[in-house]
């Protein structure tokens, strides 16, 4: 009866009272008994259960005794993870029978687990260790021998030590079932169960690193971390935010002796939950590389101690004097923090500010902003429906991915979309009373039932085989097909309205299933390509039909194809879906290009300069200077920006025409090579600030350690420059907090928001970045001094900061943090008494999978489309085209024909007068050819593997070693016209540079697409046309050179890997003393301590 009552009252969380060891507890019926026990912060050991992967009942560790009623003394043993919560149920945790059994389970696992904790990388944060202690298993009874396994080589990222396996099956459940990986499985039987690959080789999944966290013991280890290892308790950690894509996963960065050691997942209920992608987990290793810039360039020589080793502000300012009084254009970056960009804009003035976007990217950015303003973006948890399930809200029942390879550009989001595809299975299982947490039962009953997925992509993706329909089309064709889809949808909606058809879920599925057979037939006949449009029409009709009946469709798109028309078409599709009256609630997710792209949309205004405009301004000013003889030339101030998407020519003209180029960068790039002055800035792991994720969520990241000067966070350099170059003496921040206060005082709402969300001031004490167990503080420097090390403390910055570089400070587990009114601060690392592993997060959640107890308030950036563009579509387009005319304009104008004719006219006029470099006329003639035209150019679509998508991750040797080499992929028809065979080496001219790669032939690829995977080509170069004459077979010499380059890349990666390791190990021996020698002040203190 209680059950029914709860069902009818879906709005509030259904909790019931159960009795654990005769004490009453409130437990949610949404999850199993184990989750209920853990949510009440009681200790019950477990292995095979995982909060987000559900139960399978393999390990038998979470056994409890269930009693029939209060008189039942004996009870029967049940596995808590497999038991639903029922009102009034009575269970025992402390009773002898279940306690003994739990200890026996550990004892049984230990029959084969080696006693290698002292040399195991998991030691000290091992869930198995914790559980062993928890059950009280202390001495070994088993007299036999242990079984042994052979380990596998799983690539450069994940280590394998199978002897430690306790056979909980979590790894394979994560890798295969949860993340959809195909190259990892379970083999063998009895007590010889083996988890690994069929044979040695690199794990292919972009989520393989999660095995390290999913494994309850040390079978899977973080290889780079193990190579330069330190115990968890010796790490100094900070709460950070991943900077490798726009999702903004929360991470915990661990540091020791001045080097970043590892990245761990930091639980965030809304975003990453328990999992990270490998780019985020391993990519940060680039901070330790030799390409890292650590000295000032262009302000005196590298031996200048006062500029480098003993960096002082005065000296720095003095050296900058020659630059004084110059005019500057500031180029910000979507990978720099929100604050740094804001400060740069403030310093140079809004009419001198750019984001390093091209004209096309500016248009794209505006479209992006408009979408964000119109359609609120869901969090990953919102998409996965974690918070909504069972609360009367609809789960997504259809997914349509448009023109974005999610696994490549936002892997963590792709993982969430994979979970959404499970919604139909969960619902189906629910109909026979199988709950969502009964993982294996859900999968069994669903028998492959999936939420319908459709995809319109410019390249084959891993989602294709999960999709009912997946079309691979050139980016332009995607736009065309979307327009057709909207028409079909309109027709479909109108007919649905008149017929008043009400579809049930079953009807819908049956219909869609019926349609699928049809689609397969069509795929078969797709080969002849004679009537391409018709073929797609059938697919589109299916999509339209499905969209009409779907109650809560999710559309996912992104900016990686660099196509503003695509975003516009998506906007139209959303508008079409939203206006219908049958209660359908479509939602849209837009993948932004970089970690702070959305943050920079905040600055978007009509004054913002594109790179083309910068060039124009530079040349105009230069000619002005030549005319008048006065110095009118403009200088460039470039913030953490490498302009990698531009060809050599653009970069050269930028450097030639500017008076001076100052680049703030943490790593070497083309720009740092040509820049006049390079200032070394902190990496995201060493800096502080906020990134704004794809939703517009402002998320703070904090440094794990302070780098040695002259490496400074970019905002600090900017404020130094502001003072001495721009004479902005009002800018005097010594901490990020003061920066926020400054902007808040000037009425900027985002800064106010940040200050309200932060509660640092109200803290009784700052939070410690080190664990209370951080060991050897006095011993680590004994080779240099036997005196107690001064706490690593950048005095001023730390006063305002919320975290201390010390073990001294508030611990996260102190009572003030477990109370409900505790201040909300991100945790540097997760730990709880008796829970040393990452599973300790349970103790910090309101309930299993719930919000963190001391969660930070959500902080969203408020975006509005700037009033200049606040017009109807046509006027807006004219304005856009006037400001930032692009080659796309021409295409669009001809394609949408009459309606936009006037615009295109104006465009041509504007262009001919203002922007002679954009050759719209020739473009038009290209596009006017019909679909059956003989090809004379191919659309270039990026096909780089997920780990190389960011410029920074391209530097990581481990990733380079995973790379299989440069390739061009084309259809067999096109290959024939070249006489190209698979594996031939080809030479392709892309944007005036020549690239080499081997040819791959893909039968299923449309003829007008060329997929490129070229290490040297920036991922930002996407969806550009490559003329056929620019594609030629390489001659013998070029072939040899190419092979050599490919080999050299691997060789130097190997070399770099070992050199970095050697260097860091060396650094471990010396770094502590260098902490003392940071500048005069620190040195003085050191002397004051009576050391000799």
């Amino acid at each position: 009866m209680t059950d029914n009552a709860n069902k009818s009252d879906k709005d509030k969380l259904a909790t019931v009272t159960i009795y654990i060891d005769d004490k009453p507890y409130q437990v949610s019926t949404e999850n199993n008994l184990l989750a209920g026990v853990l949510s009440n912060k009681l200790d019950l050991p477990y292995f095979c259960w995982h909060p987000s992967m559900g139960s399978v009942g393999a390990c038998r560790q979470c056994a409890v005794t269930q009693y029939h009623d209060e008189n039942d003394q004996r009870g029967r043993m049940v596995m808590a993870c497999m038991t639903p919560v029922v009102d009034g149920m009575r269970i025992g945790l402390q009773d002898q029978a279940s306690a003994t059994f739990r200890e026996q389970v550990i004892a049984a696992m230990m029959t084969n687990h080696p006693h290698d904790c002292p040399v195991c990388a998991e030691g000290g944060e091992c869930h198995l260790q914790d559980m062993t202690v928890m059950t009280g298993h202390t001495s070994r009874q088993y007299p036999g021998e242990k079984r042994t396994f052979t380990n596998q080589y799983l690539g450069e990222l994940v280590g394998h030590e199978m002897n430690r396996c306790i056979t909980c099956y979590r790894c394979v459940r994560f890798y295969k079932d949860y993340a959809g990986g195909k190259d990892f499985d379970v083999y063998g039987s009895r007590n010889q169960v083996y988890f690994g690959r069929q044979k040695d080789g690199i794990l292919q999944s972009p989520f393989s690193g999660n095995l390290v966290e999913v494994c309850p013991t040390g079978v899977f280890t973080n290889k780079p971390f193990s190579a330069h290892y330190t115990r968890k308790w010796d790490l100094q950690s900070s709460p950070s935010v991943c900077s490798f894509c726009s999702v903004g996963c929360n991470t915990s960065i661990g540091e020791r002796y001045g080097s970043i050691r590892r990245v761990m997942n930091r639980y965030n209920h809304d975003l990453n939950g328990y999992f990270l992608c490998d780019r985020g987990r391993f990519g940060l290793g680039t901070v330790n590389l030799s390409k890292r810039i650590k000295a000032i360039k262009g302000l005196g020589d590298s031996n200048d101690l006062l500029l480098n080793t003993h960096f002082s502000q005065q000296n720095f300012t003095k050296k900058l004097t020659p630059v004084l009084g110059e005019q500057f254009i500031g180029i910000g970056s979507a990978s720099a923090s929100f604050e740094s960009n804001r400060l740069l804009k403030y310093v140079v003035g809004k009419e001198n500010f750019s984001l390093g976007y091209s004209n096309n990217e500016m248009q794209l950015a505006l479209r992006h902003k408009q979408l964000l303003v119109q359609y609120p973006q869901q969090s990953l948890a919102g998409m996965e429906n974690l918070s909504r399930r069972g609360h009367g809200e609809l789960a997504h029942d259809l997914v349509l991915i448009i023109g974005e390879d999610l696994e490549q550009t936002a892997p963590r989001l792709a993982l969430s979309v994979k979970q959404i595809l499970n919604n139909a299975a969960v619902d189906k299982a629910d109909s026979i009373g199988v709950k969502h947490w009964q993982d294996s039962a859900v999968r069994t009953y669903a028998a492959g039932t999936m939420t319908p997925l459709f995809s319109l992509q410019a390249k084959p993706t891993n989602f294709d085989e999960l999709a009912l329909t997946s079309l691979v089309l050139s980016p332009d064709d995607i736009v065309l097909q979307l327009q057709r889809l909207i028409k079909l949808l309109d027709a479909e909606l109108n007919s649905a309205k008149t017929n008043e058809v009400v579809f049930s879920i079953n009807e819908r599925l049956r219909e869609i299933e019926g349609k699928v057979d049809g689609v397969h037939d069509k795929n078969g006949s797709e080969k002849d390509k004679s009537d391409e449009v018709n073929i797609h029409d059938n697919d589109l009709a299916l999509i339209a039909k499905a969209l009409v009946v779907a109650k809560a469709p999710l559309l996912v798109t992104g900016l990686s194809l660099k196509s503003a028309p695509l975003l516009k078409a998506v906007d139209n599709l959303m508008a079409c879906l939203s206006q219908q009256s049958h209660g359908n609630a479509p939602e849209l997710t837009v993948v932004a290009p970089q970690c702070n792209s959305v943050g920079n949309l905040h600055f978007f205004s009509e004054q913002m300069l594109s790179v083309e405009q910068i060039l124009k301004r530079l040349t105009t000013n230069e000619s002005l200077a030549q005319l008048t003889g006065e110095e009118h030339r403009t200088s460039l101030l470039v913030l953490e920006q490498d302009l990698a998407q531009y060809d050599e020519e653009t970069i050269n003209s930028l450097t030639q025409h500017c008076r001076r180029m100052i680049v703030l960068s943490s790593r070497g790039s083309r720009l740092t090579e040509v820049a006049d002055i390079v200032l070394p800035v902190a990496d995201s792991s060493e800096g502080e600030g906020h990134y704004v994720n794809y939703q517009g969520r402002l998320q703070a990241f904090y440094p794990a350690y302070l780098p040695n000067k002259p490496v400074l966070p970019s905002w600090q350099y900017l404020q130094l420059l502001a003072k001495c170059l721009f004479k902005r003496n009002e800018i005097e921040f010594t901490s990020m907090r003061q920066l926020h206060q400054y902007f808040a005082k000037h009425g900027e709402p985002w800064a106010l928001q940040i200050l309200t969300c932060e509660t640092g001031k109200s803290l009784p004490q700052q939070i410690a970045r080190q664990t209370h167990r951080a060991s050897g503080r006095t011993a680590t420097m004994a080779n240099q001094s036997v005196h107690e090390q001064q706490t690593f403390n950048d005095a001023q910055a730390n006063l305002d900061g919320m975290y201390r570089y010390s073990m001294e400070g508030k611990s996260y587990n102190s009572p003030s943090y477990t109370s409900t009114d505790a201040p909300s601060l991100a945790m540097p690392f997760s730990w709880s008494p008796a829970w040393n592993s990452n599973q300790s997060i349970l103790k910090h959640q309101s309930q299993v999978n719930g919000e963190l107890l001391h969660r930070q308030q959500d902080n969203f950036l408020h975006l509005t489309v700037c009033s200049y563009f606040d017009d109807n579509e046509r006027v807006q387009q004219i304005k856009l085209a006037m400001l930032w005319p692009t080659t796309e304009e021409g295409k669009q104008a001809t394609k949408s024909k009459a309606a936009d004719d006037s615009i295109s006219e104006q465009l041509v006029n504007k262009n001919s007068s203002n922007e002679p470099e954009v050759d719209i006329v020739s473009k038009e003639s290209d596009e006017q050819q019909s679909d059956s035209r003989p090809l004379n150019s191919l659309s270039l679509v990026q096909n780089l593997p997920w780990y190389l998508v960011s410029e920074q991750s391209k530097l990581l040797p481990e990733f380079i070693l995973m790379y299989t080499g440069n390739t061009f992929t084309i259809s067999s028809t096109v290959a024939k016209t070249f006489g190209g065979l698979a594996r031939d080496i080809f030479k392709v001219n892309i944007a005036s540079s020549t690239y080499f790669g081997s040819l791959v032939i893909d039968e299923s690829l449309p003829d007008n697409i060329m997929l490129v995977s070229i290490f040297e080509l920036s991922f930002d170069v996407n969806n550009v046309d490559v003329a056929l004459e620019n594609i030629t077979k390489a001659n013998d010499i070029e072939e040899t050179r190419f092979t050599h380059t490919e080999k050299q890349r691997v060789d130097s990666a190997n070399q770099e890997k070992s050199q970095v390791l050697a260097k860091l190990k060396q650094q471990d021996q010396t770094i502590p003393i260098s902490f003392y020698e940071q500048g005069e002040k620190a040195k003085g203190k050191y002397k004051g301590d009576h050391c000799d």
Binding site: Q104, P143, S189, Q192
Partner: protein, 466 residues
């Protein structure tokens, strides 16, 4: 083909030994002869004169219990299939015949599979009709090559004669029957592991609920029945449920295939009324113990049942009576242990089998059974200690029902636990002597050892002694 006189005499047993009266191990009846001998009458009756619901009622009235070992009422199992509950569209469920007979000491199904394959096919038509299955599978033990050959022949004949396929005998009922030869794992006898194996997945038992009747093969409602259980159906349909119950008036309904092996003069398999006493089975049908050997203990229903001893000889071999005596009827196949063989070695041999066949899913079974093997080996080799015995006791508790994912480990515990109770002295003797008393009797001379080892019957425990 058939020797008329054989068939004639066989048919005289039609009403007393329904399951086996047509068994011909040399050359099983082909389709025509099987029909002549009264075959497919039951199926015809079911399909033409009864609704599925009526067949269910008949089987329910017959009180047929599953012969695979658990003794669960067949009709009750079927009635959980949704199509039988709600009159929904038939055809959306599966029938599987569990022919993965791998229980040590059990060979009754083989007798039927090799001897009268058409009987099983007929039975599966009836069962499929009842539960509304249009696809049926025989999951056959991989080693049963001869059975596979004969079954396939029979299936082909049944297709040719429109007893399988579509529109069977003009009744609009369709069923396709597939024979699947297993890759050979003991755990495939567990119905959900069997289903997983049939789906091409790892043969790991599934968590229950949901039960296969609700979510079975490929997530569809599925009934898994033992060969012997199914084989009763044509006869129940033909002769009625009252006849079936009357076959064994004092016990569970029907006849049962009983078998005996180990230390008996005449090992074999016999169809007898349910509830025959152990004594009658052992001394009358199996010819009793070999000369000079006295009964030490026996496993009444395959390897995964508790030992019974001489004091239980008069227990009727039916589900309840054997349970009352502290064991399980299981498959009804006796494994008899004489006083000249070491019970520790026998249990060790069994545990080695179970440890080998554990699927590796849950901890108690995966790591508990090899642990027990280690301890038993030590004891058998004379290196055991009192602690080991105690540890063994604890392991029995550790692997007991309710603590494991399926019944394999509790099944392994049954002979071990009961052996430690009934043959405690033997275990202790191993400890005190520091060796196995059966291999090295206390005052051993060469000849004594030779006698002990020259017992002609090949028994599992001897293999273990090697």
């Amino acid at each position: 083909m058939t020797d008329n006189s054989w068939l004639k005499s066989a048919l005289t047993h039609a009403l007393t030994k329904p399951l086996t009266h047509l068994v011909n191990l040399e050359k099983p009846l082909n389709f025509a002869d099987y029909c002549d001998a009264g075959g497919y009458v039951g199926a015809a009756k079911a399909l033409t004169t009864h609704s599925p619901q009526e067949v269910l009622t008949i089987v329910n009235d017959a009180k047929l219990k599953g012969r695979g070992g658990a003794g669960f009422p067949t009709a009750m199992k079927w009635s959980c299939v949704p199509s039988l509950q709600k009159n929904s569209v038939p055809g959306d469920s599966y029938l599987i015949c569990n022919g993965d007979e791998m229980e040590p000491g059990t060979f009754k199904d083989r007798h039927l599979l090799e001897g009268v394959p058409h009987q099983l096919i007929e039975a599966m038509i009836i069962a499929s009709y009842t539960i509304g299955a249009n696809k049926a599978f025989i999951f056959l033990r991989g080693e049963y090559h001869l059975a596979a050959k004969r079954l396939q022949q029979a299936i082909d004949e049944a297709y040719q004669n429109n007893w399988l396929g579509s529109n069977i005998q003009g009744t609009n009922f369709n069923v396709d029957l597939h024979l699947h030869a297993s890759a050979g794992r003991y755990i495939c006898g567990e119905e959900t592991a069997l289903i997983n194996a049939l789906e091409g997945k790892r043969a790991t038992p599934r968590a229950k609920p949901p039960f296969p009747q609700v979510s079975g093969l490929f997530g569809k409602p599925t009934v898994v029945n033992n060969v012997e259980t199914l084989s009763n159906l044509p006869h129940i349909l033909k002769h009625g449920s009252d006849w079936f119950k009357a076959l064994s008036p004092d016990s569970d309904a029907g006849t049962k295939l009983y078998a005996a092996c180990g230390q008996v003069k005449n090992p074999g398999v016999w169809e007898l009324p349910m509830g025959v006493s152990i004594r009658e089975l052992l001394y009358h049908h199996a010819g009793g113990m070999p000369d000079g050997v006295t009964l030490k203990g026996l496993l009444p229903g395959g390897a995964s049942t508790d030992f019974l001893t001489a004091e239980h000889l008069d227990t009727p071999m039916d589900f309840d009576s054997i349970a009352k005596a502290g064991s399980r009827l299981g498959t009804g196949g006796l494994i008899v242990l004489g006083d000249q063989h070491c019970p520790v070695a026998m249990v060790l041999n069994l545990l080695q089998f179970f440890a080998q066949e554990s699927c590796g899913w849950c901890t108690p079974c995966r790591d508990g059974t090899p642990w027990a093997v280690t301890l038993l080996t030590r004891i058998e080799q004379g290196q055991g200690s009192e602690d080991d015995l105690q540890q063994l006791q604890q392991l029995c508790d550790f692997m007991w029902l309710g603590k494991t994912h399926c019944a394999l480990a509790p099944g392994a515990v049954e002979p071990l636990k009961s052996a430690m109770r009934y043959f405690k002295a033997d275990f202790e003797q191993h400890l005190t002597l520091g060796c196995c008393p059966y291999k090295h009797p206390p005052n051993a001379d060469e000849s004594a050892i030779l006698t002990a080892e020259s017992v002609p019957t090949v028994t599992p425990e001897e293999l273990a002694n090697d």
